[in-house]
């Protein structure tokens, strides 16, 4: 890694930390639930990017695998939260409508 590239990566890592902090402000402040949801999703994306950069800074590129896992987990968690607030259940198929679910007594 050339020194110039190293400083470039360090700078982007710090910028990513700052944007994580901004997301955190939105997450704590709210005010509505969907602000928080978007903030969490965006925070996860920032973490993925940060990990990618950080792994190269410390010279362990295999950490990119973890970043991949993060991306997947972030997606799953967001889907789970959205389903939870639309259907108030987690075992509903994504294409199922709300009405057919609620009225079903069985």
């Amino acid at each position: 890694m050339s020194p110039l590239m190293g400083y470039f990566m360090l700078g982007s890592a710090f910028l990513l930390i700052i944007s994580m902090a901004l997301m955190l402000m939105r997450l704590i402040g709210g005010p509505t639930l969907y602000d928080r949801l978007l903030a969490v999703n965006s925070f996860g994306t920032k973490t993925v990017l940060f990990l990618c950069v950080f792994c190269f800074i410390i010279g362990r590129p295999d950490g990119v695998d973890i970043a991949l896992l993060y991306a997947l987990m972030n997606f799953i968690a967001t889907i789970a939260v959205l389903k939870f607030f639309n259907y108030r259940a987690l075992d509903v198929g994504l294409m199922q409508r709300d009405e057919t679910r609620r009225g079903d007594p069985s």
Partner: protein, 227 residues
């Protein structure tokens, strides 16, 4: 100076330490926010963020395996589990009276002081005579490659040398998972029940206690109420 800072290029030791410190500062902010927040949904979200940040910090500490587990369990599964628990319980926590907070605070402070006291007994970093470097661990590192041909020593220890132990752990985790699934009712029966006392059928929709359980507000109103 930690191991990673030493392994990185010499000019990057201080910046990497600064990055570590910023991650830890984010952790502290998230922890304080979790304590002070009343909306349980926000707390669940913040817990996901907490484990994301702490896993990033584990990567910085060269504990890649731990970071992997933390990302999968902390950020993924436990968010879903906490949401399922919220499905069965309240969405807001009520303030705890000061008397009960003081007891918990005393326990936390005692535990912290005990840990700080134990720090003094830890071997120095990279000590050749430390427990991790002196007993059977070195044999594993030396012989794993020729004995079972697995490059990752941690995987070799977990899956081969301590195979029975890992098998027992899997059984424990499986039964715990079964119990949690039954408790949370993730098969779709959460909150639905039916009973026939004296031949009269009552269920969750007709019972008097069910009044007000069904949320008739629209999604936007719920969002306003939860925020």
């Amino acid at each position: 100076m930690n191991l990673i800072a030493a392994a990185a290029e010499p000019a990057f030791v201080v910046p990497v330490l600064l990055l570590d410190i910023s991650l830890l500062a984010l952790l502290v902010i998230v922890a304080i926010a979790i304590v002070r927040m009343r909306s349980l949904f926000g707390i669940v979200m913040l817990q996901g963020v907490y484990s994301l940040v702490s896993a990033a910090w584990f990567v910085s500490l060269d504990a890649v395996d731990v970071a992997f587990t933390e990302a999968a369990v902390g950020a993924g599964v436990s968010t879903v589990l906490m949401l399922s628990a919220m499905l069965l319980a309240d969405r807001k926590s009520s303030p705890v009276p000061m008397r009960r907070q003081l007891g918990a605070l005393a326990v936390v402070i005692l535990a912290g002081v005990a840990m700080l006291y134990a720090v003094g007994d830890m071997p120095a970093f990279g000590d050749v005579n430390s427990p991790a470097n002196s007993y059977v661990g070195m044999d594993f590192i030396a012989k794993t490659a020729e004995e079972i041909q697995i490059p990752n020593v941690v995987t070799a220890v977990l899956a081969s040398y301590r195979g029975y132990d890992t098998f027992g752990e899997v059984v424990v985790i499986f039964s715990a998972g079964l119990g949690v699934l039954l408790l949370l009712g993730l098969n779709g029966n959460a909150g639905r029940w039916e009973a026939k006392p004296n031949g009269q059928v009552i269920n969750d929709r007709t019972a008097p206690s069910a009044a007000g359980v069904e949320d008739t507000r629209t999604v936007d109103q719920k969002a306003e109420g939860d925020a």
